[in-house]
Symmetry: C2
Subunit: 580 residues, 2 copies
């Protein structure tokens, strides 16, 4: 316990007695003895105390998850303002964009994880972390039921419940198998650190089995056929890593079977990396072609057995099977059962994904927020509010909007409806007055309500949901922590846009995602990158850009050092093929 947290705890006890409190601080600062005491007997009584029974002067914030969104939220949250509890089955944050590198030992698993207690311990005030899974959110009673996942002889009640004033749901998504038979049982996934460690061991198993004496050529080939389902960034990166691992390290050690190795990527769309720029997608396909990685596009996997993957060629409708030694399923995101159950409680049962408003507040339930992959922002359509906007803008109640009147509201409109900004950008409209031009392109002095509606009629089509990426989750976490930290200030000085349906201003500006680009490492120390401003960069220099960006984005100096030294180690000595 730090001295600060001791003081804050002590002063909480004296709340209301300001003089006493000041006296205590004075005593403390002038007395080494008291400080020493606080250092040597910190908190001994606390563990036995029910966290729900604490003096609850501060609002209780309960965070579910320790992924990108939750960690980013916790890192910036001012812990002196709230009583913070975190529940997650993982006591660490994992730098997920490097998971494909972990599968082949380019980077070690421990190099990309940081204990959540380390991340939050520096905060002013206290953050309690419980390693447990959230089983159920009891929305009506503002409670969460949790269970520790540790399965051994340790004693104590595994289930406990926690109360909250504010709930932050950041549990992430789970793999979506689309109910394909056999996927759950026979495929590897690429979601958790443990998944990657398992894949790494299995790859070595495939080679060690294939090289054993007395096998037929066909058996060896089957064991050395690696199949990746899903041609998105994760699947493609894993295929590239696996190819490098084999080419650079394993082929020397298992030279007698090296000609039997095959890697196949199965993609349902027409191209791999189809969320990227077309140039990247075709660069990747050409690179894979040169590397001998087989890309099967337009194929849908219909079932996976322990020995074969069965797929349907979309174009011809044919069904064919390929033998495999390892299948990695890296496609689709699904909603976790606990979130699904929560959605049913709050009237979102018909939706596929938990919806929030633009301030990341869960729709239909007060005091819950949802960030990261577990939720999606339900962006309000401008057409729903168009009449209110017109009314608010038309100050003189003339029934028409002058350019001046329009200019007065447009900034607030852009903040409240980000699709307006996107529409202007995508249609290369220089200013807002361009919106009010008549169909022939002439400037207009005034528009009436119908003309106004017409001007915005295509704007809503620009709306699209944000991708399920680390970048989005991290920005949402940071945004939300700022809202929490400024709760009090914004009450008096709202900083958000004008309320078109109501009076005054919104407390905060809505969340706005800023896209910084995305990378796709393609193996052989080459990468492709989509950078802001429609820039595309491919090749070796892009890989070095990737190295610098990923090193700089590490959550701690420890992981940064470890990741960089892992890369160095790989350059000098290659990857380790020990089966541990």
């Amino acid at each position: 316990m730090t001295i600060l947290s001791f003081l804050s705890r002590a002063s909480r006890g004296f709340q209301g007695y300001t003089a006493c409190s000041k006296l205590l601080i004075l005593c403390t600062l002038s007395s080494g003895g008291l400080v020493a005491y606080s250092e040597s007997h910190p908190d001994t009584g606390t563990p036995g105390v029910d966290p729900n029974q604490k003096e609850l002067k501060k609002k209780r914030v309960l965070v579910l998850g320790t992924g990108w969104a939750a960690t980013s939220f916790l890192k910036d949250l001012d812990a002196s303002l709230y009583d913070i509890q975190v529940v997650s089955p993982r006591n660490y944050f994992a730098f997920t964009p490097l998971l494909p590198s972990v599968t082949c030992g380019t980077v070690e698993a421990r190099s990309i994880v940081e204990p959540i207690r380390n991340i939050v311990k520096k905060r002013r005030g206290e953050v309690n972390f419980w390693e447990a899974e959230c089983l159920k959110i009891d929305a009506a009673n503002k409670k969460v039921l949790c269970r520790s996942k540790i399965e051994n002889n340790l004693v104590g009640n595994r289930e406990f419940s926690l109360e909250y004033d504010y709930l932050v749901v950041a549990v992430g998504a789970q793999v979506n198998t689309f109910n394909t038979p056999g996927v759950e049982e026979n495929c590897h996934f690429l979601k958790e650190v443990e998944d990657c460690q398992k894949i790494r061991r299995t790859v070595i198993d495939c080679f060690e089995t294939a090289i054993l004496p007395h096998l037929t050529e066909e058996e060896r080939k089957r064991n050395l056929h690696f199949v990746i389902v899903g041609g998105g960034p994760t699947g493609v990166e894993f295929a590239a890593e696996l190819h490098d691992f084999f080419e650079e390290d394993l082929s020397n050690l298992y030279s007698t079977v090296k000609d039997l190795v095959k890697i196949t990527v199965i993609q349902s769309g027409d191209h791999i990396l189809n969320t990227y720029d077309e140039r990247i997608s075709s660069f990747a396909e050409q690179k894979f072609n040169r590397d001998g990685i087989d890309v099967q596009t337009g194929c849908r996997v219909v079932s996976v057995s322990d020995k074969e993957v069965t797929m349907k060629l979309k174009a011809k409708g044919e069904v064919c099977s390929i033998p495999h030694g390892l299948v990695v399923w890296s496609t689709g995101v699904g909603t976790r059962p606990v979130v699904k159950d929560f959605m049913e409680q709050i009237g979102q049962g018909n939706r596929r994904v938990l919806a929030t408003d633009e301030w990341l507040r869960v729709k239909g339930y007060k005091d819950a927020y949802a960030i990261g992959d577990c939720a999606t922002i339900d962006q309000r359509k401008i057409m729903e509010d168009i009449s209110s906007i017109f009314k608010a803008a038309d100050k003189d109640n003339s029934g028409t909007l002058t350019v001046r009147e329009f200019k007065e509201v447009i900034d607030d409109m852009i903040i409240r409806y980000p699709q307006v900004d996107l529409y202007l950008q995508n249609n290369h409209l220089s200013g807002v007055t361009d919106l009010l031009k008549d169909p022939d392109g002439h400037d207009r002095e005034e528009v009436d309500i119908e003309q106004f509606k017409l001007a915005f009629s295509h704007v809503d089509s620009q709306m699209k949901s944000l991708p399920a990426t680390a970048q989005v989750a991290a920005q949402q976490g940071a945004y939300l922590s700022r809202c929490f930290n400024r709760q009090q200030q914004s009450q008096d000085n709202p900083e958000g846009p004008r309320r078109f349906r109501g009076s005054g201003r919104h407390k905060f500006r809505p969340f706005r995602y800023k896209h910084f680009g995305q990378f796709a490492p393609l193996g052989g120390d080459q990468a492709a990158a989509e950078l802001p401003g429609d820039w595309v960069s491919v090749g070796h220099s892009t890989q070095w850009l990737w190295y610098s960006v990923y090193a700089s984005k590490q959550v701690s100096w420890r992981t940064r050092m470890l990741v960089v030294s892992d890369w160095t180690r790989r350059f000098i000595f290659g990857r380790d093929s020990s089966r541990i």
Copy 2:
């Protein structure tokens, strides 16, 4: 495949046709094409070929194991002389003295392992490795039955058998539970890399469970009670590591429960580290006492349940139980079932451990060698041969031995019976003539057979079996590889001592262990060391000596770099407490 191995393979095919063979080498060296061919299509057909069906001009050496003894043997073995196969369930060599450091993350598991294929690939000629467990040695038919341990969907026959001309048994020992009830089910061990990873996860589990809300103080204490059974070097080092891990890293992160942690070492003897010098043993006890590690000596564990350890205090005969969160069993070595079965086949069924002679040849079975923890050297007693020695030395058949006659055989005696040397050293006898002194200490010119026997009557009591350490195993492996490499030369020029029961000389000198001292790291960057020449060193400087010795002893530059960078990382950032 290297060019060299290609050449040797090709020339094997032409054996007997020396001219042809020379021509082929000439062609090969002058033709880039042929070399290029050998580089691009190496061995494709080999995997399908039954290794027992190969052209067997060279003697087949089958090595069981990839531990210290086997690896040290393989490293130095000249692979061009033999057809070498290695079978082990682990495809890597582990630097076992650092296992206790792995349990708490001071060093990472991957930093102390090196793939066996990497170690042996540099050898001239080829070494085949199969990742499989040896199920049975068929001594009569010179065959070994193996089974792959990989349990997944991979195809191929898991069982196969291998033939050998020479068998090198280096499978190590297994944990000995002394049939104590509950040990197998409820204890952790410290033998394999996986054991250490499991302990590391369980330690974090104990803390994560103990800190959960709604537990009683007693439950928290139970979960945080770490019990180590066995006060040998491994147990003591683990206790020290655990104490450091807690003090330096965990106590800050789990501050609310830090006063409840307890570490107990249970030792059946009167002191911990009782194979070490007394000074080290008492230094360790004092250090543990200061650190608050509870050392219970004179206690024998009678049973272990999932919640309690029951032990008997030897002195009082009392039985008491202590609750635990984690028990590590680090005492006793036992014989593996496969070795036990082999012993029964070769008439060693009554022995506890596989016996070899001083040349490491398995007793009672030709062409098998045993090295490392799985075997013990059955040193021949000098008294068994005393008459033959006398006869051989008494060249003039006078019935008495002059000093000159004695001096002529003493060197060979010392080589053949190392206990003579030990006896001289331990009794501070300056020369061999001291041995022949009469009971009053006067020099004698001649001794008869009875006086000769009397002189050596106490020598055999100096014999003791070698400890089950990495140092012994490594020296045995290196010794045996030298014997294998010099098989041919020694046939013509025997280098061993005179045969007292028979004519001529032994082919090789018997194995002689050279003790370089031993370390005991005690935590808090302090260590104790027993160095050659009855030197004892304790404290911080010894820990630095430990660092240098252990870094220099690493099997590869890769692991050396990793171990050193792990230590550096620990100094700067501490140990990682992520539960992966």
